[in-house]
Amino acid sequence: MAVNRKSRSMGISQKSLKSMRRSIPRYPTGNYHPNKENVESRHRNARTLKWSAWLGWQMESNWADPFLFMVYSVAKPIAASLILVVMYSIIAAIGGGPDIGLFHYMFVSNAFFMYVGQVLFGVAQIVHDDREHFQTMKYIYISPSNYFSYMIGRSVSKMVITTFAVIITMAFGVFLLNVPLNIFTINWLLFMAVMVIGIFCIMAFGLALAGLSFLTAKHQGGMNEGIAGLFYLFCGVVFPVSILPSWGMSFAKILPITYWLELVRRTLNLGVGMDSTLSGASTAYCMAILCLSTLIFSIVALAIFKVGDTVARQKGLIDMTTAY
């Protein structure tokens, strides 16, 4: 695959070397000036972010066979869409008669829920893989770069790859399943704002989970799957939140993903009106909730990393391997 090969050679290509040479200050030699050190550490973190994102991309795309990779990255989202069609048919059969609005609701929600599955939980998985499988965590950890920057870089690549999958899924839906997406009536500005804040929120939550994964062994990864399941059930992905019992609805209303998916459906104008739970809430209100929870999760993520860091060093968890 062309994209793949190109980005791989980017690792050491002359072009990228030149651009980096221009942008990076000289390697620290001898005496550190506090100000200089600040600048250097900022540059180092920027590079860490860039190259960990590169690493993430390599890990996901560096398949032995580029053809297989293509098939995989297209086939997987399409297979997921087809499963959805089956699920919808069953729901429609039980519910007595098809409701095409419900299908559009499910389709859009599922497509965008991929961000939750891939970015949110994928990021936590990185911690376990780096520590136990690749055994690189300790070496990354003792480097002068910030581990948090490294994790942000890794989640950025997850985000980019998921974006491809979402676009493929939506295209499949529009062209083959008659999902009525009208790109001319979309408020793109609002949509972009919803996406940026939503993805921020998901990444922040993912980093918080990654911080917790720092303190747990690989086999405890079940915790993450449990949370993923909760989100799937309560955030209005497979069915409208309004069919949940009242306690379930209250629970859904404290999960920011519920608001995000609602905003995505509203801005894309798909499956709107299926869910009465948030119908009274204005778009501005939903945005405010999303912003607020993004802020909270970001602070929580940073705090967990800060505390987790000390705890991990106290308990010797950074190079812990478990027999599994």
């Binding site: 390697y27 055994q135 002068p144 010797g316």
Partner: protein, 333 residues
Amino acid sequence: MARYAVEVKNLNRTFTTKAVRGKSKKEIVKALNDVNLTINEGELFGLLGPNGAGKTTLIKILCTLLLPSSGEARVLGHDVHKDTNAIRQKINMVSGGETSGYGLLTVRENIWLFSQLYGIPSKEANRRIDMLMKELKLEHKKNSKVRTLSTGLRQKANMVRGFMTDPALIFLDEPTLGLDVNASRLIRDFIKNWIREKPSRTVLLTTHYMVEADELCDRVAIINDGRVLACDTPDNLKKLIHQDSVLKLEIRQVDNVTAFENIAGVRNFTHSNDMASGITRLKFILDDEAIVADIVAAVPKSGSKILSVQKTEPTLEDVFVALVGRGLTNHEV
């Protein structure tokens, strides 16, 4: 300016192992027990000890992976607890006997990634990677995927990763573990040359291999059960134990050995004749090493000729046995 690369005071580290449901009790392991140690800048310092002695634990604390339970540890003047960032800019660590790295990436890409975590400019990073790969004879594998490499080659790649950052102090945890004779030699020579290149460079290595410690290290600390039992140059350590020198001679067969009896400074003298090969074997245990000459001079007096001379010295292994109470097996696995 005399400065310590490592300064450890009353360092303790305990681990609490969790109880396995119903089966075992909660156990407290004292991995490091009141350790005091200083390593000078420019020194090649060895930690020698049996399995479970606490070598790796000490290295982990010094390279900021693990916090001490109590006591103080300073690396290049910085406290491991408070000045983590300052330490990380100046050190690196390589542990042997593991297969770390992203198998899907090439050797070069793996190392490149780390060079970027250290903020090394691209040109310089490439120069160092090329140079180190050449020195460690890994050049031909630089574009191979790490997962296709043998354990030994992966270990070499890990060495390149560690030295590529040009650390002021590098920690090597059993760098030759599991390597064949040639690869071990290459690594040892590399370490010796590396530290010679700049007088400010310091190496702390751990090993099971006596010969390695003896050959490489300026000073060696012998550690067992979390305690430092002795710490000195290999030569001084050998002087610690007063093992008697033994002199063995093979001479052309003589019937009369009276010339060798009653030489002052010989504590014990035995002899045996090997009729078949016409050799007389003499064994002297010496109180004073200076009398070797007197013994050799007595050979012509007895009317014979020297065929071979052998004097045995205490080895680091003897020192180890004397201190730890048991030997170190070099042939595990």
